[in-house]
């Protein structure tokens, strides 16, 4: 498979009055051509900051203290601002969470959609607008030609997000980063936008990085999943591996805390406590204070990634050969059962 993005050992600090906040703590991952990678985590876990680094959109008080971000082999952290401008909106494009604020209210839709084409290509305005119509139709804006001179406020929330997507894909980017693109939308519109993204992916052959905290959405769109906590990736694997054979207690907690439509318990499962303060990250496993399965070593030493399969890794000491067997939560047992039924041969040993 063709590797398009390779992030290696990335670490980012933010300077604040209280001292440096270690927002990203040595994150490595990759993205292959044409796949969809979902990054899951709570607010503050570092998922958006990681992606802003790939776009070169970090705030002024951020400093990259280690690592490289290789886009088709080139380290974008070494690029000049001019080179970054040539890359943004062309090789890598981004869709933001709020379609109400990511469009310019004073500019017509036609101009906004055609803008990236005009910026990155030697093309006439007329040809650019023609391509804008084609792209708007591709994302499901009906009768696009007659709406080119309309302004954002004349469209509904779902339509606006479609327009934002049109702007992002008009240059056929190699990577499309979607940062919570459906969080602000209603559930029926959300389903339409997800369907649209999947459909576009096959049409323009782009790789998608999908940032979200909604595991339901992830299950529907991702090929691979990464779970982030306190500035680190703590588990990653193929979508089935993470949903049906999860290994990290934080992943367990997230899956348990989601009420499904079948849930009929007296109490919801809640992960106790709150995420750690990244001004002073805890020694050992950052999740340990909230983890009912934490062992002595979790408070002393950070767990390395243990392989579960060639594609599935989790950073938890529970996977160490000497770790005691723990009684996993019911919901996780149920999921492991589905996994075992799908992989009977592997279950034999």
């Amino acid at each position: 498979m063709d590797r398009i993005l390779d992030v290696k050992d990335l670490a980012i600090d933010f300077a604040t009055f209280a001292g440096p906040v270690h927002a990203i703590r040595h994150v490595s991952f990759h993205l292959d051509k044409g796949e969809t990678l979902a990054i899951v985590g709570e607010s503050g876990s570092g998922k958006s900051v990681t992606m802003r680094t790939v776009m070169g959109l970090l705030a002024n008080n951020a400093s990259i203290t280690s690592g490289e971000v290789l886009l088709e082999g080139d380290d974008i952290l070494k690029k000049s601002e001019k080179e970054m401008n040539a890359m943004r909106g062309n090789d890598v494009a981004m869709i933001f969470q709020d379609p109400m604020t990511s469009l310019d209210p004073t500019m017509t839709i036609g101009k906004q959609v055609a803008e990236p084409l005009l910026l990155h290509n030697d093309i006439s305005k007329k040809a650019a607008l023609k391509e804008a119509v084609r792209t708007l139709e591709l994302v499901g804006i009906n009768d696009a030609e007659s709406r080119l001179n309309d302004y954002p406020h004349q469209f509904s929330g779902g339509q606006r997000q479609r327009i934002v997507i049109a702007i992002a894909i008009i240059n056929h980017p190699k990577i499309l980063i979607a940062d919570e693109p459906t969080t602000a939308l209603d559930v029926t519109i959300q389903a339409q936008i997800i369907h649209l993204l999947k459909d576009l992916q096959t049409k323009i052959d782009t790789a998608i990085i999908f940032i979200t905290h909604d595991l339901g959405v992830v299950a529907g769109i991702a090929d691979r999943v990464e779970v982030m906590y306190a500035g680190k990736i703590i588990e990653y694997g193929d979508v089935d591996e993470v949903f049906y054979n999860p290994q990290h207690p934080y992943t367990w907690g997230l899956l348990e805390a989601m009420p499904t439509l079948e849930t009929k318990r007296d109490r919801l499962f809640a992960i106790p406590g709150t995420p750690p303060d990244l001004l002073d990250p805890p020694k050992g496993d950052a999740f340990a204070p909230r983890n009912p399965f934490a062992m002595q070593i979790d408070t002393e030493q950070e767990p390395p990634f243990f392989p579960v399969s060639p594609t599935h890794y989790a950073a938890t000491w529970l996977l160490h050969p000497d770790a005691p067997k723990v009684e996993v939560p019911e919901e996780i047992k149920r999921r492991w059962g589905i996994w075992a039924a799908k992989h009977p041969a592997k279950e034999a040993d």
Binding site: D186, T188, I189, G220, P259, T260, L261, T274
Partner: protein
């Protein structure tokens, strides 16, 4: 739902129109009718713009209704005079928890003053000491440390702020709480904490909730009954199991078919049912009809039999 339950809030043919008679007139809610029983949680779901929040605000009389009435313990709240003793009493008995824990707490007030504001207004405490004790008690009730009372809102996380908002609502010992999207601004792991807290408090104090939300799986979990809103009207109302297992109105069916679940196999097979508004939202007169015991659907005269048959058929398979 047992029939013996006492009705706490009665909403009858409520209409709320903004900018009435002007060019930009908006009929936010139309002919909304439902009851809320004492001690229950009624979930109100629907997409943005469907009128959920307007309904909640009309019930607590933040608006004067255009027509129709809202009865709280049998009394028409639209007839209460501002500043009257009855109005003050109504304001004490109904409280609200808001969506945004950042915007709903005054950043320049200490936590103890935020929580005790209602106590002061309603003269529920007689001394500074009694006030501090009550605040400490409330903070502990919502799972916060009593020592936090002299801090300011910015020192707390989103989940903690929402707990402060809950403590403020509880301070005046209300009977009825309207929670307008109380968890949608919170992270998944924190949402469960806040929902559990609301349930615990309800069990302890016998509170009645109107829980407004668009996250349907959470609503199903917390609600006894659910009302589904669309375009300013309630289209379906039944017990939460009934709504989820046997939805009858096409809009409810469409809404339920779109909820993503954390299960890749289910998601691969998911086919959302599109909603064709033309079929059930023409100009014919419609009203809420009980098509199965406790199950109401917004239907025109000739649609009733179809819904009744569908309900009977669904229950035959139980």
């Amino acid at each position: 739902m047992t029939d013996k339950k006492k009705v706490l809030v009665q909403v009858k043919d409520l209409v709320q129109t903004f900018n009435a008679g002007k060019k930009n007139e908006v009929k936010a809610i139309q002919d909304v009718t439902f009851d809320i029983y004492e001690g229950e949680t009624l979930g109100l779901v629907g997409e943005s713009g469907s009128g959920k929040t307007t309904t909640g605000r009309a019930i607590i009389r933040l608006y004067d209704p255009t027509s129709g009435e809202v009865l709280f313990e049998g009394k028409d709240i639209a007839k209460l005079k501002n500043g009257s003793k009855e109005m003050l009493d109504f304001r004490r008995q109904t409280q609200m928890i808001f969506q945004d824990p950042y915007a709903s707490l005054n950043p320049r007030m200490k936590v103890k003053d935020i929580i005790a504001e209602g106590l002061d207004i309603h003269h529920l405490v007689n001394s500074e000491k009694e006030r501090d004790d009550r605040v400490a008690e409330l903070l502990e009730e919502v799972g916060l440390n009593a020592d936090h009372s002299t801090r300011y809102p910015h020192e707390f996380s989103g989940g903690q702020r929402q707990r402060i908002g809950i403590a403020r609502a509880l301070a005046v010992e209300p009977k009825f709480i309207i929670a307008d999207e109380p968890i949608s601004a919170l992270d998944v792991s924190i949402q469960a904490q806040v929902v559990n807290l609301m349930k615990d408090i309800q069990d302890k104090q016998g509170l009645t909730y109107l829980f407004i939300a668009h996250d349907l799986s959470m609503v199903k979990y917390i609600s006894d009954r659910i009302a589904v809103m669309h375009y300013g009207k309630i289209v379906e109302l039944a017990s939460s199991d009934e709504v989820y297992n046997h939805p009858l109105h096409p809009y409810t069916e469409s809404l339920l078919s779109a909820i993503p679940e954390p299960d890749p196999d289910t998601e691969r097979l998911r086919v959302p049912i599109p909603y064709d508004a033309a079929k059930v939202e023409d100009d014919r007169p419609r009203k809420m009809v009980e098509v199965y015991p406790g199950h109401f659907v917004f239907a025109a005269e000739d649609e009733i039999q179809g819904y009744k048959d569908a309900a009977a058929k669904a229950h035959a398979n139980d």
